[in-house]
C-alpha cells in the first residue's frame, strides 16, 4: 500500500507537499513512534502461533509447528458454535448500543437545565466504572436461586416458581445483552452527546424559523451531522467483532458449565482450553485467527463506506 502511494505521485510534487505539511507531519511523530514501540515491535510475537514453544530455546529457537497450534480451534463442532456466538453477540451489541446511545444523547440534548443534565450524565457513566468482577457479584445478587432479588419478586408478586437462572442457558442471551447495554450505553451516549454539542446552533435556528418540528430537526439535522462519528464508532466496533469482553462472558455467568452453550465465545473457549494445557502457542494462534477474520471483515466494511463517502472511511 505504501509503495503504490509513492509511485503515483511524482517526487518533486512530493517534496513540495512534504515541505508544506512538514509541521503537520511532525505533529503525528510522537504518536507514530509510540505505536511503533507499543504495537509494531511486539508483533514479531505472532510467530509463536506457528512454533512449538519451549523455554530453553526461546521464541526464535523453538521448532516450527506448522498449523498445529490452530488445530484445537477447529477439531470439533466448537469452532462453529463459538464463532457464531461471538459474532452474533457482538452484532446485537453494536446495533443495540448504537440505537440506544444515540437516542439517549439526543434526549440529553433536549434537557435545557444544565444542573440536571450534568447529573444525568454523571450517573449514566457510573456503570462503566465498576469492574466486571463486581458486576458479576451484583448480577449474582439479583439472580441467585435462593435469596436473589429477581426470584423473590417473582414469587412475591406473580406467585411464580423460582427460576434457576444459572441452570437455564436460554435466558442468558438476554441477560448478557442487558448487562452489556447497562454498562456501555451511558458511556457511548457521552461520545455522541459531545458531537451533538459541537453542531453549529445556526442550523437549528434556521430550522425553527422554517417551522420544522423537533423530530424533523433530529432526523434531518442532528443525525446527518453526527453521521461521521457514528460511522467511525461502528467501523471500530466491527473491527472487534470476533473479540469478546472476557469478564462479561466468563465472570458474569460465574463460569457455570450449564450455561456454556449460550455463553461460550472464542475468548472464553481459549481460556478454558488453556486452564488445561496453558500453551502460549495455542493462545497466540487463537488471537491470530480472530485478527485475520476481523481484518477481512473490516476491509469489506471500510470499502463499502468509502464508496458512499470517502471522508467517513477509516482509511
Amino acid at each position: 500500500m505504501l509503495r503504490r502511494g509513492w509511485n503515483m505521485r511524482n517526487t518533486s510534487y512530493l517534496r513540495r507537499s512534504l515541505k508544506k505539511y512538514k509541521w503537520l507531519l511532525l505533529m503525528t511523530l510522537p504518536g507514530v513512534v509510540y505505536l511503533f514501540i507499543n504495537n509494531y515491535i511486539p508483533m514479531y510475537g505472532v510467530i509463536l502461533a506457528f512454533k512449538n514453544y519451549n523455554y530453553v530455546d526461546g521464541i526464535w529457537g523453538s521448532e516450527w509447528a506448522g498449523l498445529d497450534n490452530f488445530k484445537f480451534l477447529f477439531n470439533s463442532e466448537n469452532a462453529y458454535v463459538i464463532t457464531r456466538n461471538t459474532f452474533l453477540y457482538n452484532f446485537v451489541f453494536i446495533v443495540l448500543n448504537l440505537v440506544l446511545s444515540v437516542f439517549v444523547a439526543l434526549l440529553i440534548n433536549e434537557i435545557k437545565d444544565k444542573v440536571i443534565s450534568r447529573f444525568y450524565q454523571s450517573t449514566f457513566l457510573l456503570p462503566h466504572i465498576i469492574s466486571m468482577v463486581v458486576v458479576a457479584y451484583l448480577v449474582y445478587s439479583f439472580l441467585n436461586v435462593d435469596s436473589g432479588l429477581v426470584n423473590r419478586l417473582l414469587i412475591k408478586w406473580f406467585g411464580a416458581e423460582a427460576v434457576s437462572w444459572y441452570g437455564e442457558p436460554k435466558y442468558w442471551p438476554y441477560i448478557l445483552v442487558i448487562v452489556n447495554a447497562w454498562k456501555n450505553v451511558g458511556y457511548l451516549s457521552i461520545i455522541y452527546f459531545a458531537s451533538i454539542i459541537g453542531i453549529d446552533k445556526e442550523y437549528y435556528e434556521a430550522a425553527t424559523i422554517d417551522g420544522a418540528s423537533k423530530w424533523k430537526q433530529m432526523t434531518r439535522i442532528t443525525i446527518p451531522l453526527i453521521l461521521p462519528v457514528i460511522t467511525t464508532m461502528t467501523l471500530l466496533a466491527v473491527s472487534g467483532i470476533l473479540r469478546s469482553d472476557f469478564g462479561l462472558f466468563y465472570q458474569v455467568p460465574m463460569n457455570t458449565g450449564a450455561l456454556i452453550p449460550t455463553t461460550n465465545t472464542i475468548d472464553t473457549f481459549v481460556y478454558r482450553a488453556m486452564v488445561q494445557s496453558g500453551d502460549i502457542g495455542m493462545s497466540t494462534a487463537a488471537g491470530f485467527y480472530q485478527s485475520v477474520v476481523c481484518f477481512v471483515l473490516i476491509l469489506v466494511a471500510n470499502a463499502a463506506v468509502r464508496r458512499i463517502n470517502k471522508r467517513d472511511a477509516l482509511f
Binding site: L35, I111, S122, T123, V133, Y137, S147, L236, I280
Partner: protein, 296 residues
C-alpha cells in the same frame, strides 16, 4: 400543541429517572453490602436495607492506612500525568489526519487502525518494555504501556475534527500567515473543547481503573496503585475458586479470604474518590462543552 410540549419533557425525565435508578442502584447496593454486618448477609443475602449495620469491613481495610494512602498517591500521580500527556499526543495525532489534503493520510490512518486488529500478544509486548526500556517497578510502567495512546480515541477524535472544524476557518488562518502549530493551539483546540473534555475524561477513567499494568510490571508493594490493591483480593478469590477442585490446600486458602462485606468495601474504596472528584471534574467538562458550543 401546548400539551405535547409539556408531555414531551416529562416523558424524557421519566425515562432518564429510570435510567438513573438502573445506574445508581447497583452502586448503592455495593455500598450497603459493604456496611452490612456479616450476619445479615448470611441470613438474608444482599439487601438495600441491611438488618444490622457494621463498619467492620472498613476497619479491617483501614487497619493499615499507610498502604492505602501510598496507593492513592501512585494512582493520582499516574492519572494526572497520563491524562495530560495522552490527551496531547492524541490530539496532535488526530488533527493532521482530519485534514483531507495531508500526504500519506490514508497510510497513517491505516497504520493506526492496524494496531487495533493485530497484536503480538502480551509476551513480546512485556519483553519490549522490560528489556528495552527497563520499566519494571517504575511509575512509568503504569503510564506508558498501552495506556498512553488509544488508537480508538485517535480515530474518534479525527472524525470529530473532520466534522466540526470548518475548513474555511483553517484556510483563512493560513492566509493570515499563521503556522500549523499556531492554528492547532489557537484555533483548533478552543473549537474542540467538547471532544477534548470527553477524551480527557475517558483517559482519566482508564488510568484510574487500570490494574493490569500494575499487576504485570510492579513487584514492589509500595508501588501498587489503588485499583490493583483493591482488585487483587477479588481476583485472587476468583482464581482460587477456579482451582478449588485441584487441591485441598486451595480450600483452606479460600476459607481465609475476606468475607463478602470486605469484598464490597474493596470495590467502594477503589471507586469512591473518583465519584467524589467527578462533580468537580464534570464542571470543567461541561464548561468545555458549552464554551465549544458558543463558537458560532
Amino acid at each position: 400543541m401546548n400539551l405535547t410540549k409539556r408531555i414531551g419533557p416529562a416523558l424524557i425525565h421519566l425515562f432518564f429517572w429510570g435510567f438513573t435508578i438502573a445506574s445508581l442502584v447497583p452502586f448503592v447496593l455495593v455500598f450497603m453490602v459493604s456496611i452490612s454486618s456479616e450476619d445479615s448477609i448470611l441470613k438474608n443475602g444482599y439487601s438495600l436495607f441491611p438488618s444490622t449495620i457494621s463498619f467492620a469491613a472498613y476497619r479491617f481495610l483501614f487497619n493499615d492506612f499507610s498502604e492505602i494512602a501510598k496507593a492513592y498517591g501512585v494512582t493520582i500521580v499516574s492519572t494526572l500525568i497520563g491524562t495530560v500527556v495522552s490527551l496531547l499526543i492524541t490530539a496532535l495525532f488526530a488533527y493532521p489526519l482530519s485534514r483531507p489534503d495531508l500526504p500519506f493520510r490514508r497510510t497513517l490512518s491505516f497504520y493506526i487502525f492496524f494496531t487495533m486488529l493485530f497484536g503480538g500478544g502480551m509476551v513480546p509486548w512485556y519483553i519490549t518494555y522490560v528489556n528495552m526500556f527497563d520499566m519494571k517497578n517504575t511509575i512509568f510502567a503504569m503510564i506508558i504501556p498501552n495506556l498512553l495512546l488509544s488508537a480508538f480515541n485517535v480515530l474518534l477524535m479525527r472524525s470529530f475534527f473532520a466534522s466540526s472544524i470548518p475548513e474555511s476557518v483553517i484556510e483563512s488562518a493560513t492566509i493570515d500567515g499563521a503556522g500549523e502549530l499556531k492554528i492547532f493551539f489557537k484555533i483548533v483546540v478552543p473549537l474542540s473543547l467538547p471532544i477534548m473534555a470527553t477524551i480527557g475524561l475517558f483517559n482519566t477513567l482508564s488510568y484510574w481503573n487500570d490494574w493490569y499494568n500494575c499487576m504485570l510490571f510492579i513487584d514492589k508493594p509500595e508501588l501498587y496503585n489503588i485499583q490493583y490493591l483493591m482488585t487483587k483480593t477479588l481476583t485472587n478469590i476468583q482464581y482460587l475458586l477456579m482451582k478449588s477442585n485441584s487441591t485441598a490446600q486451595v480450600g483452606e486458602l479460600l476459607a481465609k479470604m475476606p468475607q463478602e462485606t470486605v469484598r464490597m468495601a474493596l470495590a467502594v474504596v477503589g471507586i469512591a474518590p473518583l465519584l467524589f472528584a467527578y462533580p468537580f471534574f464534570q464542571k470543567y467538562y461541561i464548561s468545555g462543552i458549552t464554551s465549544g458550543a458558543v463558537k458560532g
